[in-house]
Assembly symmetry: C2
Homo-oligomer: 517 residues x 2
């Protein structure tokens, strides 16, 4: 469907993206998601409508991830969205992390509730009283549940479609294990799956690592993460996190068993929680889309190829017109049978050129142009959405060549994004270089002497003062750099390497820093 | 896993269902769902935890229904859970139907919201302002969206697991069409699918029909329904509903297009909404389960067959024990490859008898006993959960015979339930017979002169006064009978048939009445 603004004005005129990604990223993104029909704005602030193309991406992720976690022995379940204040407040560090953003239901109809109930911001405290009840013996471990649900975090920061929304969809896995080793192995197995959702489904590169003490999940022993990067804003973005909660919650909620080896003390379970949200769709959209509109990776595109009959001029002979329409229908059938998600745009109220722009706006990975002369020669012209390349293909081979081309597009999207990402991860060993790289819109990999103090020092000292009289300065983010993660893949660290702050303290690791969403 | 109450007491002792379905239906049901691990009670009243076995049923329904609706051109999407009071209150009849049960968020963290937001009790008013925005021309019709979500209706009536809960999962489809005919066809196509979810997946019979004016959905033109029956309580239960909203909402929200045939007036869309909730799981559970525990139809059972090695006494020769264990493993592999959802219970801390009871409690459709002598003869003993029948089967044929047997169980469960259902639908043409049939725990099919007045008269006059001094009277429901539906399949109605109330008025139809959930 053409965008509505255009149609209201003139059914035969298409209004594409009217601002450039390079000039006004935020305005561009808003147009990409709305005109690409991924999302619409909603009359409750911070909430958005996920339209079919974006929900389709989410369904593809669900299907893929469900298979992976079921192989790990995880089962899906559903816990209530409401949580009593008594339970929510049981784990102190945890509730402190969430309390300011918790939405409270206080009324039903016109009556006040006796006791207000919170809407879950996450479900640790919703679930764990029941884990305590269900786990009575070591034979009940491991207990591995996951749910696909929505959570609410009533943030007051500026909302951003997919990236920061007051309600969002996610999955949250919660598992309890007998040993620390088993829990830790799972944390990493899940993180690997998150990395693959980004790289293999969404064609987005991420860096795996561990969060600093300051940035870890409220109540966790440690947090692992996949970190992404938005080149246009020079900002990092947390992609998904897999937490080892240790025995922190199990002690609070008494999730414990007798020692199977006959030890006298009861053993507290080792727990994990891990989540990936619809934020991934925002990261994917920002990464690939361009000034013509949305770009969807083929594996998650609701429509992978669109057939557009061309050259059907008024003076074209009737049998030639019929040949084009017949060929188009036959191609659609053949591709559909080859499991390509294919559609045809046979509307006669729009010109081919209009339809090309429309398909580009909506991010369809491949356009197949079927014209009278092509058909006579048994050919079509395929046009890639990602790079505009035109490829002449034999109609007879499409059931093989189109799926192959879609896979090529998928790989090329990832390679291109990876190249850009890699160029923007800059190593710095001095504070000057750190600030220079950061202000040039990069993530910075720097030797770091890990402590909350140095982390805060870096944040404070890398905050960029914006000159209100300098318009060019206007769009640069001014917040300080945070630690994004300590990457698992570490460059070699010199034995005498010191912290990038210049404190002279010995560096423990290379750490990834950046301005961040 | 064995039930926790049992384990707390003694790991080697199983406590099954301790009350009979016939004696204390409500206590029995509570034990069935909790000991069968379908659900657990939760500390916010009216909310329950869906554990993996019940969520698995829901996933099977989702998968089946998604295929059906996608064939009808419906796409999945996700709208926010919050709705502003201004929008909620736009359609008057509609909001009156829901207002007393609406949950309101009034606070975030410790701050009061400027404007409270409601949690959707259903999404007509959430969605339709956007339908108005998206539908600009007749070419945008039909618009067909569905979402899988949770809704909240803060009822103050006694909650009941799956049947009446304050938060529940459902799907809600919302479609807009150019013509009444197209909308009406879809209402019926969806209702047919609902009927099949009950009969083909859950093995539960239902009656399709139309709701009376009094019982139709708030704001609808007409409501169609599938109505079920719980024999143990003699009560009917609304299974799922498919509504034709007519142009009621489209006029309120201005979902309109110009006439494609050039007429001067704008045309308002014809709309439908249709929903099926996790209530279906309760109906299924009540219908099939017995005094040994849960009974799950094979098509929706998380585990369809469980292999239990037997006869492994202490004095059994090691090679014979090994033969049993090897055979069990081989059977599990063969069944799994034949797409049977199979598990083995090889725990050596429990006796076979204990494991039999445990599998019965959890509703696993088929138990496969593998003993030393059976293995020597290349046989196993299969025991059906539904009727206890023991069947000796050749190990070599299991990949074929087990799937066949599971289908037989599925069909037999439906046949048995259908026979019971049919016995409890009693035709009555006089008021005396009506009351007698109703009080004997039946649904009543009666000639009816349709009007809200007669409906209310029947309800008032069929309310059963309970004698507090008569204990036997205690369990009979005392509420009056409601119209459940006007069945689409109508027995012949005599030309001079009069309303069952005895008013002497000419009857319009046969109508299904019953005490109802």
């Amino acid at each position: 469907m053409p965008p509505k603004a255009a149609k209201a004005k003139n059914d035969n005129m298409l209004i594409g993206i009217t601002v450039n990604k390079e000039d006004d990223f935020s305005g561009w993104y808003q147009q990409i998601v709305t005109k690409g029909e991924m999302l619409d704005y909603y009359d409750v602030s911070g909430c958005y409508i996920m339209r079919p193309p974006s929900y389709f991406v989410w369904e593809q992720i669900q299907e893929w991830f469900n298979i992976k976690i079921k192989k790990l022995g995880v089962k899906n379940a559903y816990f209530p969205m409401f949580v009593s204040s008594r339970v929510l407040e049981k784990e102190k560090d945890h509730v402190e992390g969430f309390a300011p953003e918790v939405a409270w239901v206080t009324k039903a109809g016109s009556s006040d509730l006796e006791e207000p109930v919170a809407i879950r911001p996450t479900s640790e405290t919703v679930m764990y009283p029941y884990y305590a009840k269900w786990v009575r013996s070591h034979r009940d471990l491991p207990l591995k549940l996951n749910q696909w649900n929505s959570v609410v975090r009533w943030e007051f920061k500026h909302p951003q479609p997919f990236l920061r929304t007051r309600e969002f969809l996610w999955q949250e896995g919660h598992t309890a294990h007998l040993t620390a080793k088993e829990a830790e192995d799972e944390v990493m197995a899940i993180l690997d799956n998150y990395e693959k959702i980004y790289s293999e489904l969404l064609a987005v590169p991420v860096i795996k690592g561990k969060k600093s003490e300051k940035e870890k999940f409220a109540g966790a022993l440690f947090t692992t993460t996949v970190e992404g990067f938005i080149p246009s804003t020079g900002r990092g973005i947390q992609g998904a996190t897999s937490h080892c909660l240790g025995q922190n919650f199990s002690k609070m909620f008494d999730i414990s068993v007798e020692d199977p080896n006959g030890g006298a003390d009861k053993l507290f379970a080792w727990q994990n929680s891990w989540g990936l949200s619809t934020r991934v769709i925002g990261v994917m959209t920002m990464t690939h889309s361009d000034n013509k509109g949305l770009v969807l990776p083929p594996r998650v595109a609701h429509t992978q190829a669109i057939i557009i009959p061309c050259g059907l001029t008024a003076k074209l002979a009737a049998e030639k017109r019929a040949a084009v329409m017949d060929a188009s229908a036959a191609i659609e059938k053949a591709l559909s049978e080859a499991d390509v998600r294919v559609a045809s745009d046979t509307r006669d109220t729009y010109s081919p050129g209009w339809k090309f722009s429309d398909a580009e706006l909506r991010g369809i990975p491949l356009r197949i142009e079927v014209g009278p002369r092509d058909v006579e020669q048994g050919k079509i012209v395929a046009v890639r959405r990602d790079n505009g390349e035109k490829i002449v293909m034999d109609i007879a081979d499409l059931a093989t060549s189109v799926p192959e081309l879609l896979e090529t597009i998928q790989k090329d999207l990832f390679s291109k994004a990876k190249e850009t990402f890699d160029k923007h991860v800059i190593k710095a060993t001095t504070w000057d270089d750190f600030v220079k790289a950061l202000n040039a819109g990069n993530l910075v990999l720097a030797p770091w002497s890990a402590s909350i103090e140095t982390e805060e020092w870096i944040k404070d000292n890398s905050a960029r003062t914006v000159d209100p009289n300098n318009e060019a300065d206007d769009k640069a983010p001014s917040m300080g750099a945070k630690t994004l993660c300590i990457p698992f893949e570490q460059p070699e660290l010199a034995a005498d390497a010191v912290c990038v702050t210049g404190s002279g303290k010995k560096a423990d690791n290379w750490c990834l820093f950046g301005r961040s969403y």
